[in-house]
């Protein structure tokens, strides 16, 4: 299957390991990624320029539409923003006219048919848990992971369509496939504070500190995060607060990195060392003999 990969503004410069690991995993799973250049999703402009947010999002959707490709995002805020804009445009004919006019100036057309999905949704629904578990050759053994769903993918759930906002299970399912267990913890569905960083640094920092404290208490070995904004928040908190930021457990890991390791890819191919803190221990937490123990998956929770 072919996708237009939407990287957004943060990943290429601040979380390149997300792109690296997603690309190798997608390639391994037989996906084709079209080479396209998008603009900002519109998320950073939403506070003070509503129309800029809509236009920026619509241009991306129209670019993918022109190629007839579904979009796959890695950043959860990009997902939420593109979905939100699509929803606004579907409801507001005036807004739609404005967007169509502006995009027509560069020969683009917005019809609203672009499908936008997050990498994890694609893995869960298109590849499917069964096929993923068949492909896993190096599962982890009882790896305890605390996961964060990411606000803008999860809510408003009727618009983002990522999962149920109160009892989500997509990431749990995906973790189970690679032999990891999602521990119950307080921060799982909560905010990392990133949206407030430019408006109120103290509060933003307090928010991520709270998540890090909760994480430290969770007993998880690694924190699974799949949004570049959260990754940056964690890095910032560690740099700013140092030791006060709670015991940083043993590392932060992106889902494509976990999956890649379970598929037998090397840590360096998945750019594990670029995570802060790097979960280097994970390579040693995999089952010893490749293919010896295969997990069976029961489906959802």
């Amino acid at each position: 299957m072919r996708f237009a990969l939407f990287l957004g503004c943060k990943i290429p410069s601040f979380a390149p390991q997300y792109e690296t690991s997603a690309r190798v995993v997608l390639k391994k799973l037989g996906f084709e990624i079209a080479k396209m250049e998008f603009n900002c999703c519109g998320y950073p402009m939403r506070n003070d320029h509503f129309h800029l947010f809509i236009l920026a999002a619509a241009r991306n959707l129209a670019l993918a539409e022109a190629k007839g490709l579904p979009m796959m995002t890695l950043c959860k805020c990009c997902l939420g923003t593109l979905k939100r804009a699509q929803n606004f445009l579907a409801q507001d004919p005036e807004l739609l006219t404005m967007v169509k006019e502006k995009l027509a100036l560069e020969g683009l057309e917005y019809r609203g048919s672009t499908e936008v999905r997050h990498l994890q949704s694609v893995l869960h629904q298109d590849v499917g848990l069964e096929r993923l578990s068949d492909l896993v050759t190096h599962p982890f053994e009882n790896l305890k992971v605390a996961t964060m769903y990411g606000c803008h993918a999860l809510r408003p759930s009727r618009i983002t369509g990522f999962d149920n906002a109160y009892t989500p299970h997509v990431i749990e399912d995906l973790l189970q496939v690679v032999g990891a267990q999602s521990v119950p913890w307080a921060g799982r569905l909560k905010c990392c504070g990133a949206p407030l960083r430019e408006r109120n640094e103290d509060l933003s920092l307090a928010t991520i500190k709270m998540r890090m404290d909760e994480w430290a208490e969770s007993g998880a070995e690694a924190l699974n995060v799949d949004c570049p904004h959260t990754l940056l928040q964690i890095k910032w908190a560690q740099e700013t607060l140092g030791a006060q930021s709670g015991e940083p457990a043993r590392g932060v890991v992106l889902y494509p990195q976990l999956l890649g390791l379970a598929l037998g890819l090397s840590a360096s191919k998945l750019a594990l060392e670029q995570n802060a803190p790097s979960p280097a221990f994970l390579t040693g937490r995999r089952a010893p003999a490749p293919g010896a123990t295969k997990k069976t998956v029961s489906g959802g929770q």
Partner: protein, 556 residues
């Protein structure tokens, strides 16, 4: 004489200009922090840093950058093959002409024993290099006209560079074409190299050159009978071919001379070759004199910058050296427009006609401001708008063919504008909104606005859902900020349900000015948990937007 005078004058202007430029790297500042370093401190820090690097293992990275990003221009290949082809053609063609042709008597002559500009390979090579430059210029013009971002931002500076290059090359071709057909030039060569005095011999040689080399003589100076031509061929073999390859090998100029043949004699008699010679070398000297002030300066600064940026990280740099580096970067920008073409927020120009959004224009304004020309308050406000629409994606920095650390310049720009009292627009909007809400609070008076406000929240389709609020406080209970506060009402100001209720009562200013609106994390927990479909988060978004709009209106 005139040639020498103008050459030395051009050289003097060039050297003076370069000196001024170096001085400006030591004195010009982007923000206040840079201003605190004296020229001496900057020079010392820059030289020390350079010295440390050159004598370290990092020199490998520098050389690598010089080779791959400098000579081979890998950075531009990554984003546009056409731009890369154009630039390589220009670079190879132009540098080739400078070394082989302009400095031919100094460089080529000392390297090769048989150097004559009229001899192959120099004869055809010169034309080939000229054609490369012309094709490169053509491609650049084509891109400037067809690529939207470039078309919008082409400035006088870009045109000057293109015109100067075109004049130099075209006058060169025209000069060569006229010389090929010029009888006067033939006579000069005859006198200088052949030393023939017998009129019959001269006529014979002329006949051969008219027939084989395309020289146009006055009627009667040549003949066509075979005996004469045979004699001419012999003389040509004896006196000419050793130092002059067939004129056809200068393929482009020869082609042009064929086109001009009908008027060649008239042009020659009117002194055409002399005039073109003056135009050609004066255009070259003008280019030389203007080098420090045009985009050609990047020929000198570019390699320096690529090497330095390959081994430095601005935040970790010595601040005095960084101040010098920033000033140098402002000069290095060639306004090539790569950053603008790929800018991830260039799309916003469709709604906000402010060129200060585009990185290439921001650098130009930054440079002008650093040199004391800030363009007035309105322009500063525009610069601020552009600076804050930028999402800091660093794409411009990754793509800049010269490796200018634009992201670092943007940080400095924001700092500088904040010093001018132009901070983050959102913070300003929050301040204005807070002030607008203040009177009703301090005087304990509540002005209920009636009418009109129903349409107040109209940008997001569901914003008016606040009417559905029945004050159950589910939103407030779900809010992570409330969860984090010990005394929510004191720490957070109005709580989410109170904001919704304020709106319901028509207290727009109260709602907009509450800190809750500005501290909202946008996590959508309130909206998700509302049992009555109030789009709480979207309403808060909309309030911030309306306050920003109002603040902008106030500013203008």
């Amino acid at each position: 004489m005139f040639f020498s005078i103008s050459l030395y004058l051009a050289l003097a202007i060039c050297v003076a200009g370069l000196t001024y430029k170096v001085w400006s790297w030591l004195t010009v500042s982007v923000d206040r922090r840079d201003r605190q370093y004296s020229p001496g401190q900057r020079a010392a820090a820059a030289l020390a840093g350079l010295g440390r690097t050159v004598f370290s293992r990092k020199v490998g990275a520098m050389l690598r950058a010089l080779l791959l990003d400098g000579l081979l221009q890998r950075r531009s290949l990554n984003h546009s093959v056409l731009a890369w082809v154009a630039h390589i053609l220009l670079f190879v063609g132009f540098m080739g002409l400078v070394l082989l042709h302009a400095l031919g008597t100094h460089i080529t002559d000392s390297l090769f024993s048989n150097y004559y500009p009229t001899l192959d390979p120099w004869l055809w090579l010169r034309d080939a290099l000229g054609v490369m430059v012309l094709v490169g210029v053509g491609l650049i013009i084509f891109r400037r006209l067809t690529v939207r971002g470039l078309r919008l931002t082409t400035r006088c500076r870009d045109r000057i560079a293109i015109i100067l290059l075109a004049v130099i090359i075209l006058s060169g071709f025209a000069l060569q074409a006229l010389k090929i057909s010029s009888a006067t030039s033939f006579d000069q060569m005859l006198e200088e190299y052949a030393g023939l005095s017998d009129p019959q011999n001269i006529k014979a040689l002329r006949s051969v050159w008219a027939q084989d080399y395309g020289v146009v003589f006055a009627p009667g100076q040549t003949g066509a009978d075979s005996e004469l031509l045979e004699m001419g061929q012999e003389l040509n073999q004896d006196s000419c071919v050793d130092c002059h390859s067939p004129a056809q090998h200068a393929f482009a100029s020869y082609g042009l001379s064929v086109v001009l043949r009908p008027v060649a004699l008239a042009l020659d008699q009117a002194g055409g070759p002399d005039i073109l010679y003056y135009i050609h070398f004066l255009a070259c000297f003008l280019g030389l004199a203007l080098l420090p002030f045009t985009k050609f300066l990047h020929l000198i600064i570019g390699p320096l910058l690529l090497a330095v940026n390959a081994v430095t990280d601005p935040p970790a740099m010595n601040p005095a050296a960084r101040a010098a580096l920033r000033a140098l970067e402002l000069d290095a920008c060639t306004h090539c427009g790569t950053c603008t073409v790929h800018c991830s927020v260039a799309v916003t120009l469709g709604l906000i006609p402010n060129q200060e959004i585009l990185p290439s224009e921001r650098v130009a304004s930054l440079a002008a401001k650093a040199h004391g020309r800030d363009g007035g308050r309105d322009h500063l406000v525009q610069m601020r708008e552009g600076a804050y629409i930028c999402t800091n994606c660093h794409r411009c920095t990754r793509l800049c063919p010269l490796g200018i650390n634009l992201s670092d310049l943007w940080t400095a720009q924001k700092q500088d504008l904040a010093e001018e009292g132009l901070g983050a627009p959102l913070a300003e909007a929050a301040r204005h909104a807070g002030e607008a809400a203040l009177p009703s609070r301090s005087e304990k008076q509540v002005w209920v606005t009636t009418g009109g406000f129903q349409k107040g929240l109209k940008h997001s389709a569901q914003a008016n859902t606040f009417y559905n609020c029945y004050n159950c406080r589910e939103c407030t209970n779900a809010c992570p900020l409330v969860f984090m506060s010990e005394w929510p009402n004191q720490e957070l100001d109005l709580l989410p349900h109170q904001v919704m209720y304020c709106l319901k009562m028509g207290l727009k200013d109260e709602a907009m000015g509450s800190r809750m609106v500005w501290n909202c994390l946008t996590c959508y927990q309130c909206q998700e948990s509302c049992p009555n479909m109030v789009q709480v988060t979207d309403v808060l978004y909309e309030l911030r937007y309306l306050a920003s709009q109002a603040a902008r209106a106030l500013e203008n």
